[in-house]
Every structure is written in structure tokens, then in C-alpha cells.
């Protein structure tokens, strides 16, 4: 791998810093500074681990004190009451906390309603319950647990040195894990979950697994550092362990540093810890605290996204990195379709997708009533019907977003109903949304890249190259590094399309891509859709605009009131008396 000089310098600096941090306790430095550094490491681990779930995936947790506290009490109980060697208790502390976290996640993450502030409520409630359980059972019982007689191995000749090294170790591990996630598909998936979880799932992100992984790591780290912390304070009580500041500080530090960057929370933790603990004042302590808080407010007002993003912004401005213009990217650009080349532009009789007696009801409302329909290899199937006729529901059922109430859906002859949406996406079924739902905090390029990565299983570099290609294909190349908010409706529609195409689907469902476009734009879009089909992709085309449906579709399916009332060639279908009556009103009813 090539390495520029500046990268080498940076690597050398990191190695040097790591070695000096490791060797620090052996030096002559006053142990207080060692302990103070430990506190910084402790908060770095707490804030960073909070970010894995809450900053990246947007699941705001006020339950970090519960995970931390369960670690504290696991270590305290094992070491002080059962005589387990202290270092051995740490994995247990991590394990118990991770188990608690994963258990909560397993219960909560499958409920779509428990997002946002309800998740916050859930976690704050759990914190109270865990605290009350520990307080009212022999785990603590109200007397606190005293660990002074617990022996701690003395690395570098002092207990402070050992605790420091443990703190350093866990901070490094936490940062390593977080960097790994940040740079990986999982990071991209978590960011997508943050912006729009349903879309993320439909684009192939295994949201449940990712969230469960995130909460397991997040809680496990909090538990591990809680275990170390128990020996640091040497006397643990419920009141102190579950204090409101333990709940608040990781949140404050993460936001302050920037909770969407792997290093942001660490930076925030360092600054806030030094500010809050570093200048212990004497008689005027209250005023000192007030002054520090005022400073915090000023920094937040001036750097609203956190310190880290602002630093990166500064760095970019000082040393502008050449952003690779999309236009000059290497252009192998016609991706080989996932289907056999012979199928191109040819409608085969073999069905790709079969809906058999598909029904879906919401409470008492029947949205789909026994729809049976097959979609043939390589065709464009127009799906029409008045508002509320069940078109969107059918798409949501096929993608796995809604579970079926009756019937079955087969893709390539194998049933896909019951599969989670991300698995359906990975089989090669993609959709676009009628109202575009881009991931607002990802760039246009990343929006498409994540679809290529999750829908088509590409690695990151490849995914970005493919994304660049599809942006060029849909005419969005110039906007690659912009954020979706800057796009107009037409561009957002094409971003939807690019995102759907990036998954290289075998079946593409387009939900009213043409609505809101002017005539020229419609013609361009129709051209594009035809072209997509000639590359071997089967298309279901939901549209109100009859001119487009007739011009484009091989066959047309008409839904009304959740029932399929006609299916056939466009001309045939449009002459069907029932269809005519649906579209032109009750006067024509036979």
C-alpha cells in the first residue's frame, strides 16, 4: 500500500504517543497525573461506547448508567464478596453488562414503535429498575460494597499504574472498535439506520442485527470500564453509581465532541473531563463550575456540530484535499447484469415474481384481498389503480416491509414472504420511493454507495465506484459530494433511482417516479427506464400518468380496493369496462 510522507509522520506520531502513554507509569511523574489520565480514559470509553449505539445509529440511550453500574457491581461482588481475583472479574463485568444490553435490545429492537424518545424512556426506566434491584437485594442492600482489601496486581510498582493501564487499554480498545465500525459496512449501515431505518432495511441493511451488535458492544464496554472503576473508587454505592451525572456526561461529551465521528466523543470526553475535574477550586468552587459551564455554552453555540467536525472542516480548508471529480472516474461503467446476457431485452415466459392470493389487513382494514399476479422475466409491468387501491401496500409486501396476512410471494420459485426486508433486498429486489427518502446526513455519493454495498454486496471502494457510475448514469455526477437537502425534486427522484439501481436488482419497483416532473423530464425518465430494462432488469412500474404506462408497459395490472381487477396488454386493459368504470366513475358501471 502506498503511503505518503504525511501519513508516515502521522503513523510515527501515533506509535510514539502510544509507547509514551504505555511507559508513563514507569516514569517519575506524580501518580496524581496518572490517575487523572485514567479518569480521562474512563470517560473516553464511556462517551465513545455510548456513541456506537446512540451517536451512529441514533438510538438515544439514557441507559448507559445501567450498563456501567451492572459492570461496577459485578466486579465489586465477585472481587469483594466472592474473592475472585480482580482482573478476572473484568470479563465478567463486560459480559453481564453486554448480556443486559443485548437482552434489552432483543426485546426492544423488534418493535418499530420503540424508537426515538420512547427508546430513551425505555433506557432511563431500565436504569432506575437496575439501580432499585441492586439497592434492594443482597447485591448491595443499602450498605455499599467496599473493595479496599481486594488485591490488585501492581504493574510498574503501583496500583494507580495498573488502573491507568487498564483504563488506557479499554480506551484504546473502544476507539479501535469504534474506528473499525466507522470505517466498515456496519458503520454505514448504522448511519443509514440513524437517518431512516425502514429505508435502510429495504436497501439491504440487516438493521436488527446491527443494532443488536451496537448495543452489545456499547454495553459491554461500559460494563468493562465499570469493573475497573469499582476498584478505582474502592467503595461503591447505588447512589453514586447511578447518579444523574453518570447518565448525562457520556451524552454531553459525545455531542460536544461530535457524535457522528469515531474520534469526536473521545475529544469531547477529554475536554469536558479536564474542564470539570482538572481545575478543582477551593472556596469559590461554585463560581468556577459556573464559569466552565459558560465556556461550554459558548463553544457549542460557535461549533454546533461538535468540536471534531469543526476541526475537520478547518483542516480541509487549510489543506484542501483533492476531491475526486466523479466525471473522471475510471469508466468500466456498464456493470454486467446479474442475469444471463441472453435475457437482455427479451421477455421470457418464466415468472420472476409470483404473488399467490396475497392479502394484507391493518387492524380491520383490508388493504389487499387475495391478489394473484406473476411478473415475467424482463418485462415492464405497469401497476395502476386509484389512490388507496393497494399499489404501495403490494410493493411493501413484496419488499418484506409488511408481513403478509395471507397468501405467499415467490421469487424465482422460492417463497420470500416472511423473510426480513434486508434479505429480500439482497436477493435482488429493489424499490424507489414515491416521495424520495434519501439519508439526509450522507452525501449523495454515499447514499448510492450504501445501496451498492448492502444490496449488491460490494466492498467499500467498489461500492463508491459503482455509485459514481450510477450517479453519472442518472445525471447527478456533479452533486456527488453534496447532501440531499440541496437537491431539487427532480434530482431527488433520480437519486432514488440511482440508489435502486446501485443494488443491481433483478426486479426493480418504481413507485411513481414520474410524478412532479415536467414533460421533458418525463421523456428523459422513460428513456432511462427502457434502458434499464434492456440491461436485463425486470420492472414493476407504479404510475398515475396513463400516457407513460401505455407507452412503457408490456402488461398492465389494475388494482381497485385491494383486488386485482384486470391484467393484460395495455390496450386490452384500458378497454376493460370495469377499469373504465373505476377510472371514469360509477356512471359506467355495468
Amino acid at each position: 500500500m502506498d503511503m505518503t510522507n504525511s501519513n508516515r509522520v502521522a503513523l510515527a506520531a501515533v506509535v510514539l504517543a502510544a509507547v509514551s502513554l504505555l511507559a508513563l507509569p514507569a516514569s517519575n511523574i506524580a501518580p496524581f497525573y496518572i490517575s487523572f489520565l485514567y479518569l480521562i480514559f474512563f470517560w473516553i470509553s464511556m462517551a465513545t461506547s455510548w456513541t456506537i449505539l446512540s451517536g451512529f445509529a441514533g438510538y438515544w440511550s439514557f441507559g448507559h448508567a445501567a450498563f456501567f453500574g451492572s459492570g461496577v457491581y459485578t466486579s465489586a461482588t465477585l472481587a469483594a464478596k466472592l474473592g475472585v481475583p480482580f482482573l478476572l472479574t473484568i470479563p465478567f463485568a463486560a459480559g453481564v453488562a453486554a448480556l443486559l444490553g443485548t437482552g434489552i435490545g432483543w426485546l426492544v429492537f423488534r418493535m418499530q414503535r420503540l424508537r426515538g424518545e420512547l427508546f430513551a424512556l425505555m433506557t432511563i426506566s431500565i436504569t432506575f429498575v437496575v439501580a432499585a434491584v441492586i439497592s434492594n437485594t443482597p447485591i448491595d442492600g443499602g450498605s455499599g460494597v467496599y473493595l479496599i482489601s481486594v488485591p490488585v496486581p501492581e504493574i510498574f510498582g503501583s496500583q494507580s499504574g495498573t488502573i491507568y493501564l487498564l483504563g488506557l487499554f479499554f480506551a484504546a480498545v473502544t476507539l479501535g472498535i469504534t474506528y473499525g465500525i466507522y470505517r466498515s459496512r456496519m458503520g454505514m449501515g448504522l448511519f443509514a439506520i440513524h437517518d431512516d431505518e425502514d429505508v435502510a432495511e429495504t436497501k439491504g441493511v440487516p438493521t436488527f442485527r446491527y443494532k443488536l451488535g451496537a448495543i452489545a458492544l456499547s454495553s459491554g464496554i461500559a460494563g468493562a470500564v465499570g469493573g475497573v472503576y469499582s476498584i478505582y473508587v474502592s467503595y461503591v454505592t447505588v447512589g453514586e453509581t447511578f447518579e444523574v451525572t453518570v447518565i448525562m456526561y457520556p451524552v454531553v461529551m459525545s455531542i460536544f465532541g461530535g457524535s457522528r465521528h469515531w474520534l469526536g466523543p473521545a475529544l469531547g470526553a477529554t475536554i469536558v473531563t479536564i474542564a470539570l475535574y482538572g481545575f478543582p477550586s477551593g472556596p469559590q468552587a461554585a463560581l468556577g463550575r459556573g464559569g466552565i459551564a459558560l465556556g461550554l455554552i459558548l463553544v457549542v453555540l460557535l461549533l454546533p456540530n461538535g468540536v471534531m467536525p469543526s476541526l475537520i472542516g478547518c483542516w480541509r480548508r487549510l489543506a484542501p484535499k483533492q476531491l475526486v471529480p466523479v466525471q473522471v472516474l475510471p469508466q468500466p461503467l456498464v456493470p454486467e447484469p446479474r442475469v444471463a446476457a441472453g435475457a437482455v431485452a427479451m421477455v421470457a415466459d418464466t415468472p420472476v415474481l409470483e404473488c399467490r392470493d396475497v392479502g394484507k389487513s391493518f387492524g380491520g382494514v383490508q388493504a389487499l384481498r387475495g391478489v394473484t399476479l406473476d411478473v415475467r422475466q424482463g418485462e415492464i409491468l405497469g401497476l395502476v389503480g386509484p389512490n388507496g387501491s393497494g399499489k404501495s401496500t403490494l410493493i411493501n409486501v413484496i419488499t418484506g416491509h409488511f408481513k403478509l396476512s395471507q397468501g405467499s410471494v415467490l421469487f424465482d420459485g422460492a417463497p420470500i414472504d416472511g423473510l426480513p426486508a434486508h434479505s429480500v433486498a439482497r436477493l435482488g429486489i429493489a424499490r424507489s420511493y414515491q416521495i424520495p427518502r434519501p439519508f439526509d446526513r450522507l452525501t449523495v455519493l454515499d447514499n448510492v454507495a450504501m445501496a451498492a454495498s448492502f444490496g449488491d454486496g460490494r466492498n467499500e471502494n467498489e461500492a463508491r465506484r459503482m455509485a459514481a457510475h450510477w450517479l453519472g448514469y442518472t445525471g447527478l455526477a456533479k452533486k456527488a459530494f453534496d447532501y440531499p437537502v440541496t437537491l431539487n425534486l427532480h434530482e431527488r427522484k433520480f437519486l432514488e433511482l440511482a440508489r435502486a439501481l446501485a443494488a443491481r436488482p433483478r426486479l426493480l419497483m418504481l413507485d411513481e417516479v414520474l410524478s412532479g416532473l415536467n414533460n421533458t423530464e418525463v421523456d428523459a425518465a422513460l428513456e432511462l427506464i427502457r434502458d434499464i430494462r434492456t440491461r436485463g432488469t425486470t420492472i414493476i412500474f407504479v404510475e398515475h400518468l396513463m400516457r407513460a404506462v401505455v407507452a412503457l408497459s408490456d402488461r398492465v395490472a389494475v388494482l381497485n380496493g385491494g383486488t386485482l381487477i384486470a391484467l393484460g396488454s395495455p390496450e386490452e386493459t384500458m378497454r376493460d369496462p370495469e377499469v373504465v368504470s373505476v377510472y371514469l366513475g360509477g356512471a359506467h358501471a355495468s
Binding site: 426506566s125 432506575f128 434492594n136 455554552i297 453555540l301
Partner: protein, 288 residues
């Protein structure tokens, strides 16, 4: 209680009443927080600090200048309204996001705590009034006057705010803005002016809560933090931006706590009330 028989019925009734009334205080504190979170997308941790500052001001005006609590309360509410408007100006001016608002108001709460401690010391303060601990006696029940008034005020404010949001143009506009700001703006709604008004109202509600805290509770600067957990829970149970929900949520938690305290060990109160909450979230999520 160590193996004793079932608690007396009058004890349960008294506990139920206590729970409802305490819930009123929770609801009163939750009201402003719920509105600013739900309708302005600002999570105002400083709300508790302002409530406690209002309590201190009420106590201070009362004990040092003999100002009756209601006059002091009026003054506090008036001044706080403008503080709320000013706060919102800062938030608008710097385009503060939901997350950053939490950070800023957290720091603001620390500043208020420090200020209170610097001016009035950290020692406990109690506002003794002749009628502060009086009760009406109804059968075997004692109905504490102050807590009842607090509940009635909480109910009245919640109902009035609810009606305002539901039946007036301004209220409906505010709700529309919270749901979809661009569309609301397209309909010509003056979101800025309305949001200033709402922010001022939220701060004024903190002042009202402060007056009752001064009369009912014991004051210490660090009390700011003791309310956060439970009131946060109340706000979310009630539904963000829902004034009646905030009150109902407060009563739910208050009653759970009080009944636990009356029947089993009082230290189980958080265990029971928050377990109930978790169960509700897991099994009847549509209720919220």
C-alpha cells in the same frame, strides 16, 4: 413491612390521593418541557434549573421582603416569560439543533446551580407559611391544601394549553409547524413569532412550578438534578407536546410510586413504577 397484615383501606386511599397530587406536581414540571420538546424540538434541561430558581426567588422575596407567594409567583412568571423569549432568540440566532440544545441547557443548569449556591449558599432552605401545611379533612382522608392547589393549577394550565393548541389558529399553526415546518411556512404561518410566544410560555410554566416547589419542597441547589429522571419519563409517557398527556403521565408515575410506598417497602417505589412503565412500553406500545 415486616410480615404485617394488609394495610388499612384508609392508608390505601390516602396513598392514592397522595400519588395523584404528587403526579400533579410532576405534570406541572413536565408541561413546559413537553411543549418545548414536542413543538420546538428543543430539549430544555434548563427547565428544572429555572423551576428551582423560581422557587428560590419566591422564597427569597417572601422571607426577605415579605412578598406573598402569589405576588412573587406573578413576578417570577412575568420575568421568566421574557427569559424564555430571550432563550429562544439565542436558539434561533445560532440555529441550535435538538442535540445541541440539550448540551447548552445542561450547561445553563450548571450555571444556575452555581449562581443559586453563590447567592444563597448550599444550605437547605424551607419556606414556612402559616397555611403551607394545612389540610382539609374529608372523612378519614387528609387533603393537603397546597398540593391540591398545585394539582388544580397544573390541571388548569394543561387544559388551557391543550385547548389553545387545539382550537385556536395560533395553536394549530404551532402544531403544524412542528409536524412539517416547510409546508406550514408555505401556508404563511409566522412560525418565528409563535415559537417565541411558546418558548416564553414554557419558561413561565417553569416559574409556576417553581412557586409550588418553594412552598412544598425543601430547597437546595443540587435539587435541580433530582427531578430530571422522573420528569423526563413523565414527558415521554404523556407524548411530546401533549399537555394533558404530561399531566396524565405524572399522575400515573405518582400513583405507582405512592401505592408501592404504602403497600411494600418504600424503597421499591422506583422499581415498581418503572417496571410498570417498561411493561406498558413492551406490551401496549400503541397506548402511548
Amino acid at each position: 413491612m415486616g410480615g404485617s397484615a394488609m394495610p388499612h383501606l384508609s392508608l390505601l386511599e390516602q396513598a392514592l390521593l397522595t400519588g395523584v397530587l404528587t403526579g400533579g406536581l410532576y405534570g406541572l414540571l413536565a408541561l413546559g418541557l413537553s411543549l418545548s420538546w414536542g413543538l420546538l424540538r428543543l430539549v430544555n434541561l434548563g427547565h428544572f434549573a429555572m423551576a428551582l430558581l423560581g422557587a428560590y426567588l419566591t422564597w427569597w422575596l417572601g422571607t426577605s421582603y415579605n412578598v406573598a407567594p402569589w405576588w412573587a409567583g406573578l413576578l417570577v412568571v412575568f420575568v421568566f416569560f421574557f427569559y424564555g423569549v430571550g432563550l429562544h432568540w439565542v436558539f434561533m440566532r445560532f440555529r441550535v439543533t435538538e442535540m445541541a440544545s440539550m448540551l447548552i441547557t445542561f450547561a445553563f443548569a450548571v450555571i444556575v446551580e452555581s449562581t443559586i449556591q453563590t447567592i444563597w449558599t448550599a444550605d437547605f432552605r424551607r419556606y414556612e407559611t402559616a397555611w403551607g401545611s394545612q389540610s382539609w379533612v374529608v372523612g378519614s382522608l387528609y387533603v393537603p391544601k397546597l398540593n391540591t392547589i398545585a394539582f388544580v393549577v397544573a390541571g388548569a394550565l394543561a387544559a388551557a394549553t391543550w385547548a389553545w393548541l387545539r382550537y385556536t389558529y395560533a395553536g394549530r399553526a404551532l402544531r403544524a409547524c412542528a409536524e412539517d415546518p416547510p409546508i406550514a411556512t408555505a401556508f404563511g404561518i409566522n412560525h418565528r413569532g409563535l415559537s417565541f410566544l411558546l418558548s416564553g410560555l414554557c419558561a413561565a410554566f417553569a416559574g409556576v412550578a417553581g412557586v409550588f416547589i418553594a412552598l412544598i419542597a425543601t430547597l437546595a441547589p443540587s435539587e435541580i438534578w433530582s427531578w430530571i429522571g422522573v420528569v423526563f419519563a413523565v414527558v415521554i409517557i404523556g407524548g411530546l407536546g401533549n399537555p394533558l398527556g404530561a399531566l396524565a403521565g405524572g399522575v400515573l408515575i405518582g400513583v405507582c410510586e405512592a401505592m408501592t410506598m404504602a403497600i411494600v417497602n418504600p424503597s421499591w417505589a422506583p422499581l415498581v413504577s418503572f417496571s410498570v412503565l417498561i411493561a406498558l412500553l413492551l406490551f401496549r406500545p400503541r397506548w402511548i
